[in-house]
């Protein structure tokens, strides 16, 4: 592999060309996820390895991406829980919002609540 420092006149951001310091994430995303997949005699499905899968996804995928994939247990892992406070705050905000919405819903005096009506229609259609 080559290494080349590239200077770019007149541009605000020079192009980085790093190779010698090939980072672990770059290697892992290739050796674990790419290349020819052949069943060897020793069968270890990399995707079956819970911690491996999750840690690699956590590390290699962005955290948001991992959450989209439904992988979120590190939120409960004290060593990885930097995001936990965010989630707790988000939960609190959502609870407050639900409370406010419920309060708003129960306020019409005639009891004919639009949301309840829609629910009923949904059930009948289903």
């Amino acid at each position: 592999m080559t290494s080349a420092g590239v200077s770019v006149p007149g541009r605000a951001r020079p192009l980085d060309h790093r190779q010698e310091s090939t980072n672990l994430a770059d290697i892992l995303e290739r050796v674990l996820d790419k290349g020819i997949v052949i069943a060897g005699d020793i069968r270890v499905n990399l995707l079956d390895i819970e911690l491996l899968t999750i840690k690699i996804r956590l590390l290699v995928a962005s955290v948001d991406k991992a959450r989209e994939m439904g992988i979120d247990w590190w939120e409960h892992d004290p060593t990885l829980s930097s995001g936990q406070r965010d989630i707790a705050a988000e939960n609190r905000r959502l609870r407050e919002r639900i409370g406010a919405l419920e309060a708003a819903q129960s306020s019409p005096p005639d009891g004919k609540r639009p949301a309840r009506k829609r629910d009923t229609e949904d059930v009948q259609r289903g």
Binding site: R11, A12, P14, A25, I36, V37, L46, L51, L59
Partner: protein, 254 residues
């Protein structure tokens, strides 16, 4: 060796000889050798049967330190040889009981493996990452109200900062998509990876593009030019390569 099993790193054409592998060090610092079954050759090394048994592998792969060692060794063999000849890397931790089983594999999957090698023959992989560069925080946010109360001014300023950061990020994302479109047009094939987490890249800036491009060997001048020209105050680009064609040496059945 009774207590050894065979670790398969890559597949090449059958003109590969042991002499070409003499400088390479595989997993566990073992020497690398060839198992030939024309028209293919397997790049293999011996590993400890105990530590590469299925239960041990499952356990060991959970250990990021061990995983890093194995991954780097695997990559050093693959990269060392991909410089020299067409090479299809095999996924990490592909282990066989003995060389006969490797030969059997080369026989039974011959057509597919040859086609895989043909796809990457004379081609190399380059990788481009793009980072959204955080805006200069010293910059005043235009439109801040000066007449408002301190509380309102603070809230307005906060909102202005948030909106401006969101716009800035969106611009960077758009620019990255445009870069990817241009590079994809240039390349024989392209693959995108999920952006890497900040904790792994070690950069404050958010990664907004993580992609690999397959190019003809020596045909990277245009890629370099395009990548150099496409950086902006918002977008920092990083080019790495040439890589072994990991992202493109896949079987059709995969």
């Amino acid at each position: 060796m009774a207590d050894a099993v065979i670790y398969l790193s890559a597949v090449a054409d059958s003109d590969l000889t042991d002499a070409e592998l003499s400088d390479l060090h595989a997993v566990d610092d073992a020497s690398v050798h060839v198992v030939t079954e024309a028209p293919l050759a397997a790049v293999v090394s011996s590993v400890d049967a105990e530590r590469f048994s299925a239960p041990a592998l499952r356990r060991n792969l959970e250990d990021l330190g061990w995983l890093e060692t194995i991954a780097r060794a695997h990559d050093s063999v693959v990269s060392g040889l991909a410089n020299q000849r067409p090479l299809a890397p095999v996924r990490l931790a592909t282990v066989f009981m003995d060389e006969d089983n490797v030969r059997a594999l080369l026989r039974s999957r011959s057509d597919e493996l040859v086609r895989t090698l043909d796809r990457i023959r004379g081609r190399v992989e380059w990788a481009v990452k793009a980072f959204s560069v955080a805006p200069d925080r010293e910059q005043p946010i235009p439109g801040s109200s000066q007449a408002a109360s301190p509380g309102r001014a603070y809230l307005e300023r906060r909102r202005g900062e948030r909106d401006s950061a969101a716009r800035h990020r969106q611009h960077a994302l758009d620019e990255a998509e445009a870069v990817h479109a241009r590079l994809t047009e240039l390349a024989i094939a392209s693959r995108r990876y999920p952006p890497q987490d900040r904790r792994l890249t070690g950069f404050q800036d958010e990664m907004v593009l993580n992609a690999a491009y397959l190019l003809p060997e020596g045909g990277d001048a245009e890629l370099r030019r395009l990548t150099e020209e496409s950086g902006s105050p918002r977008l920092r680009l990083e080019l790495t390569g040439p890589w072994a064609p990991y992202s493109f040496a896949t079987l059709e059945s995969q």
